[in-house]
Symmetry: C2
Subunit: 222 residues, 2 copies
Amino acid sequence: MGIMKKYLSLLKNSKLFQGISEDELTSMLDCLSAVTRSYHKGENIFSRGERIDSVALLLEGCIHIQKEDYWGNLSILSEISEGEIFGEVYACLGSDELLNNAVAVKPSKVLFLDVKRILTMCPSACQFHGRLIRNLLTVLAQKNKMLTQKLEHMSKRTTREKLLSYLSEQSQRAGSPVFDIPFNRQQLADFLSVDRSAMSAELCRMRDEGILSFDRNHFVLK
Amino acid sequence: MGIMKKYLSLLKNSKLFQGISEDELTSMLDCLSAVTRSYHKGENIFSRGERIDSVALLLEGCIHIQKEDYWGNLSILSEISEGEIFGEVYACLGSDELLNNAVAVKPSKVLFLDVKRILTMCPSACQFHGRLIRNLLTVLAQKNKMLTQKLEHMSKRTTREKLLSYLSEQSQRAGSPVFDIPFNRQQLADFLSVDRSAMSAELCRMRDEGILSFDRNHFVLK
DNA sequence: CCCATTCTGTTGTATTTACAACTGTTATGT
DNA sequence: ACATAACAGTTGTAAATACAACAGAATGGG
């Protein structure tokens, strides 16, 4: 478990392990039968239809939760950055099949944690076990809220409204009218489920109208 | 707490209290400072912007989680039926403002449970406390999955695809090509974020093409 | 430095949608 | 049973979108 030393501070600051001491953390990782694996860009960590019993925690890299339909239309559900977990919904539900793929968009390193051991292990022995479960609950609630916000964007009728809804949220999240988004144009279009070229045109129209300005993935709302 | 007797079997079979004995349940309700309140049709149980610290459990009636924008466009996020809980996301997150209203679409009766007591009460004394937390976790995971499925429908580009995506899921959920949906036309349109009349026309086109048949909210997929 | 690739913006057309207005049918309540 | 409201379907038009094809700028590798 020497490999984990490198990521101890990442884990300590992750939402899943928040409030758990460093000592407790290392002993927990054994207890949760933690294993790591590396993926290269484009590789699937999880695939649609699969059943899983582990929560994945991203140590390094970047993951997209996404799906492709019959005609090759890509739909991006969310982006996972370092320290965040994914797959927890299906790991908790156990018998349900995954609805989306988890794909590495950069070379990535992932830590897997057996969810059964999170939910049922030594309820009295581990002082921080209760904390771990409550952390998991909080993460699920936050993701739930994030999905609701995404639905808010997607429920807008026009591309312009979708963009404004999304960009406003990003601005609010950044606490500033100046912010970067984690997507390029094609990815943003796949995230908002609109046509890339139409979206690009709409962005330029809004820029010309003075509503916003941008350079690549750097935006300023006015 | 005599009023609760009437709903004991509903509570026992709810996802939140699944696996908890009847005796334990009645003592729990005191412990969770449970209170009930009645609402008439159209009344808000929760309102956008509000902060809450209680989970709501629907004893009787029907609730829609929905939002109205500046121009009066209604957007329905989900329907809550008897025995289901709502508000749990914001109750768990505590400091976050609600993004949606919870409105009674029928005369309804709601049970409120203090979430802090669910998460922190007597960790050793109550035998079933751990079960309650895990149940809450499962409900959150299921809702998360439901939101993902809804995003799957909404990410479709055309009204026809949205309808087929939604109706296929309903059919699958019912385990039969014959099923009822819980919405009328306007509600379904508000749920899928499309124009009602266009949707109505699309449904009729699909019927004429032999893809499906329907009568009111009763559908048959072919 | 050059080549190939990726990314972004632009334009035109066919398709699809939103919106409004209206008709007929089905519930609801008195 | 009646009047009223709620609901479902239809049509035409203006607006918005998807799609395809292309051009220039930026990026990355050899």
